[in-house]
């Protein structure tokens, strides 16, 4: 019998029951929540007179609607405020292991705070009404986004009705060049397999380049698995993972720690495990990436030129390129490095951790943003990240460069708060989606790494970070 993949091990260790057609009840260890996708689920529980099955599985905090400046004024948009207050009330009624209300010292983006306090652990099943839950796969957890009906289902039953995904191995071997980050690896993978390439799959990221990534880099990579169509991305836990978790508030302690680590070490795909698909990339070939269109798969190396639809034979694809160029206000064959930006956003559950901010600060240090760039937002992923950055003086580096240093939150990744692009504005963004209108109606998004975003802020246009 062939060995098992990491995904299969995680899946099988959580199956409560299985129907003849393969539909399973999967036990859920950790339920992350934010204010946008939970109110209707709590309302459903109330209407049915149900309780939360296991309130100590819940880790919650508002992040999408919260402002990133003028916290003294509270949440000025009354509709946003109501949504955040609704989460406060729901957690008060139903309970939680961890809840950081708006303005709490540790509040932040839900996918940043979970790993920070050790509520995400290897071997767990982790869900959240948020597609970027895949982030937590970086710890060797089976983590994926769910809809609000499923949020209600998990609240009421601690399980999810689910079928096993197919397994894909994305193997990146070799060493990344200087200036090439986990974000570039993620975008290069999406460029190769497409935004639907991972549909129906759980992706395990493996190979020496992945093992070489820091835990934060692995989070960036797994975060974007969903942008390749895969609900879950996973990296097998290793010494770096254990080192990262040791001593965290909710990580096991004492004898439990040793027992946990012994178990976590078994969370690897067996050498003879069979995957349904294998994709291989050579790390040395990956260059800094910049998206040019309105889908994350519309991505190029920074040295490239915007595609010319006339050269595309397939009519559907040609129409797609034309539509994207029109929306993005770009001419065919324009070199990426000649594209000017109006705004820069450094933040989001993809790239708002301390390492990301250090990387951006390193580029910004002693430099000034270009006069043509209207605004550069630096939004830390959590209160803890913010304080760490301030202790290291990164905030001052950004302020000296003319960047704005903000309070934590999702901010301009999806522009549910006041941080957004105006119609026609072009942004270099460290977030995860360049969809039409994502950062504001009519806004134009180019996805890049924190280093590339900071460099674009200084130069006023995209530059190759390797020669900056």
């Amino acid at each position: 019998m062939a060995g098992k993949t990491l995904y299969d091990k995680l899946w099988e260790s959580h199956v409560v029951r299985e129907e003849a057609d393969g539909t399973c009840l999967l036990y859920i260890d950790r339920h992350l929540m934010h204010e946008v996708t939970s109110p209707q689920a709590f309302e459903g529980l109330r209407l049915a007179g149900r309780k939360a099955w296991r309130k100590d599985s819940i880790v919650a905090n508002p992040d999408h609607n919260t402002p990133t400046n003028h916290w003294d004024r509270g949440i000025e948009d009354p509709i946003s405020r109501l949504q955040v207050e609704t989460l406060d009330a729901n957690i008060k009624d139903f309970g939680a292991l961890v809840y950081f209300p708006f303005k709490h010292a540790n509040q932040g983006i839900i996918h940043v705070i979970g790993p920070e306090n050790g509520t995400t652990l290897p071997g767990m099943t982790v869900v959240c009404g948020d597609s970027h839950t895949s982030t937590h796969g970086a710890f060797g957890a089976l983590a994926h986004g769910i809809g609000t009906s499923e949020v209600e289902h998990v609240l009421a039953t601690q399980t999810l009705v689910a079928k096993r995904s197919r397994r894909m191995l994305v193997k990146v071997e070799g060493s990344l060049s200087a200036g090439v980050t986990a974000k570039d690896v993620a975008l290069a993978i999406i460029g190769k397999i497409g935004t639907a390439g991972g549909t129906g799959f759980a992706i395990e990221f493996g190979g020496s380049a992945i093992r070489g990534l820091s835990i934060e880099g692995r989070m960036t990579l797994c975060n974007m698995a969903i942008e390749a169509g895969a609900r879950a991305g996973i990296v097998a836990p290793d010494e770096k993972t254990f080192e990262y978790l040791k001593g965290k508030q909710f990580a096991p302690k004492g004898a439990d720690w040793d027992k946990a680590v012994a178990y976590w070490k078994t969370l690897q795909s067996d050498a003879d495990a069979k995957f349904d698909a294998v994709v291989e990339l050579d790390a040395a070939q990956i260059e800094p990436q910049v998206t040019w269109g309105t889908s994350p798969e519309q991505v190029l190396a920074v040295g490239g030129r915007v595609p010319n639809p006339a050269k595309e034979a397939d009519a559907q694809k040609r129409a797609g390129i034309e539509r994207a160029l029109q929306y993005m206000g770009l001419k065919a064959d324009t070199p990426i490095t000649e594209i000017n930006v109006d705004k820069v956003f450094i933040g989001s559950c993809t790239n708002s951790r301390i390492e990301d901010l250090r990387a951006a600060a390193k580029v910004a240090k002693g430099r000034k943003k270009a006069a043509s760039v209207r605004q550069v937002l630096v939004v830390p992923g959590s209160g803890i990240v913010k304080r760490q950055a301030e202790a290291e003086g990164l905030d001052q580096v950004f302020i000296d460069a003319g960047f704005e240093w903000r309070e934590p939150g999702c901010s301009m990744c999806l522009a549910m708060n006041a941080d957004r692009l105006a119609a026609g504005e072009r942004c270099a963004s460290t977030s995860n989606r360049n969809f039409e209108g994502r950062q504001g109606a009519g806004g134009r998004t180019h996805l890049v790494s924190p280093e590339m975003a900071a460099a674009a802020a200084i130069a006023g246009h995209f530059v190759d970070i390797r020669s900056f």
Binding site: T86, T195, M416, E436
Partner: protein
């Protein structure tokens, strides 16, 4: 949940691939704490010439006339014909809520994004995966024929065009059962509460740190 059995529905073609849930329902409408009322804002940025805000009365908003939902021949459509990777991106269930609230009960596409696909079943929407060839044919027929309708029958898992040609589609027995009967999945799961409790006890004994 509204049950779905069969319908004879007018078809609306949306001829673009990778339609994401941000396009289906833009973020500003996600601030609602309700499940209903999203239909008027479905595809808001493609549908209206102004910028939509939650609570806005849409009856007098300026329309983008070329967008399919604004064309007279597709008013009252219940079947949405789409392209590859429909519903990609954000997990927001507001997307199927908006689609259902607008009046669609069936979506036919060559492929769907996983989370969106699952969310449809929780809301009485039947997402049907058909081959690219069949979808191409449906787009051609829909363009050529006014009042183009499809007969969708869940019990027999078939879709029939006006000429009487038909194709069949797959659905898991579990999803079919829930959709046909409009069942509350939570109620079904809670019938297995003892099994969940037994699993939980075993799980806690093996990995107590998961229950900190």
């Amino acid at each position: 949940m509204k049950p779905f059995t069969s319908l004879d529905g007018l078809v609306c073609p949306l001829d673009r691939a990778n339609v994401d849930t941000d396009a289906i329902i833009p973020k500003q409408f996600l601030k609602s704490i309700k499940r209903s009322g999203f239909g008027p804002y479905l595809f808001d940025e493609w549908r209206y010439a102004d910028v939509g805000e939650p609570g806005m009365d849409c009856t007098n908003r300026p329309l983008k006339k070329d967008f399919v939902l604004n064309q007279k021949r597709y008013q009252g459509a219940q079947v949405l014909l789409a392209r590859d990777n429909f519903g990609c991106g954000s997990s927001r269930e507001h997307a199927p809520w908006a689609i259902e609230d607008y009046g669609f009960r069936v979506i036919i596409a060559p492929s769907f994004a996983d989370i969106f696909f699952g969310n449809c079943y929780k809301n009485g929407i039947l997402p049907i995966v058909a081959s690219a060839e069949i979808v191409d044919q449906l787009f051609r027929e829909c363009a050529a024929q006014k009042d183009y309708k499809l007969r969708v029958d869940l019990e027999t898992q078939t879709v029939r065009n006006p000429a009487g040609e038909w194709f069949s589609f797959d659905i898991t027995p579990h999803r079919k059962h829930c959709l046909l009967n409009g069942l509350d999945e939570i109620g079904l799961t809670l019938q297995h509460a003892d099994e969940i409790k037994a699993f939980e006890a075993k799980h806690k004994a093996a990995q107590p740190w998961l229950f900190a």
